[in-house]
């Protein structure tokens, strides 16, 4: 089991091509922790913006009548991948991990696999 800071650091250093990672509370849109980022990637803005993405998808699924849950959301840009992974563990509902990757350096399948195991180990 890892705490928030350790989990985010592991995602940043362990996942090839990481540009920034954040743990975000999508009930409030605020980040519980961030690692990486910088002037090209403001993780506070990303946290607030991607909260709207997650909320929109949750609402859409409600409207479609889908009794299912989001595992992750992938957004592919020209030069980056953005991966949103919703926390499943009890006590960490309403949180998601957000990971920005450099498309040229990242291995998407590996990154997704690693993020899943980091999420599983994360203790809030």
């Amino acid at each position: 089991m890892a705490n928030v800071e350790a989990a985010l650091k592991e995602a940043m250093t362990g996942i090839e091509g990481s540009l920034g990672v954040a743990l975000v509370d999508y009930t409030s849109g605020m980040a519980l922790g961030t690692v990486g980022g910088g002037k090209d990637l403001d993780l506070t803005v990303a946290a607030a913006g991607n909260t709207d993405v997650v909320r929109a998808k949750v609402r859409t699924m409600e409207m479609l009548g889908l009794k299912d849950e989001i595992e992750d959301i992938l957004i592919s840009l020209d030069t980056q991948y953005h991966l949103i992974r919703l926390m499943k563990a009890r006590g960490s509902k309403g949180l998601f991990l957000y990971l920005a990757l450099d498309k040229t350096r990242a291995n998407l399948a590996m990154a997704r696999h690693q993020l899943r195991s980091i999420e599983g180990d994360l203790e809030i």
Partner: protein, 151 residues
């Protein structure tokens, strides 16, 4: 020769009021679940309002009172000058942001608001509002010395 004294239309408080109102409307358009906002002077008077319902005068007065306590609380804790104040009720939020040296932006929002986004947008807006109010109060001397134009 007849002289008409008239304040320069491009300066002064009416122009600033319009700019403040525009800033508040833009804020409401940009942040979903935001129900209204008020710019209050430090003494609790309304400088601008954008409220669908509710009492702007009361909100401004309460803003001044709450900010007064919060300023002391921050100072007492040794955390320096107050930047903002967030009140979280069961059915919504009230957030106050210091705007320059003489004003406060108070924002009302529903409980489902994205607080991260509220902060991002409101901090930017309060910065612009603070500059507007600070410039206006600096450029508007006592009434008798208003810049007049002769005709």
């Amino acid at each position: 020769m007849r002289r008409v004294l008239r304040a320069r239309p491009e300066r002064g408080l009416p122009v600033v009021e319009a700019a403040l109102g525009e800033e508040l409307r833009r804020l409401r358009a940009r942040v979903p679940s935001l129900t209204g906002s008020v710019v209050a002077a430090s003494d609790g008077l309304v400088l601008a309002r954008d409220l669908a319902t509710g009492d702007a005068d009361g909100t401004a007065a309460l803003t001044a009172a709450a900010m007064g306590v919060a300023v002391r609380m921050s100072d007492d804790a040794g955390h320096g000058a107050l930047r903002e104040l967030l009140v979280h009720g069961e059915d919504g939020y009230v957030a106050c942001y210091r705007a320059g040296s003489a004003a406060v932006l108070t924002v009302l929002a529903q409980a489902r608001i994205n607080v991260g986004r509220l902060h991002l947008e409101s901090r930017a807006a309060s910065g612009r509002i603070g500059r507007l109010v600070d410039v206006a109060t600096r450029d508007t001397p006592a009434p008798l010395r208003l810049p007049y134009r002769q005709r």
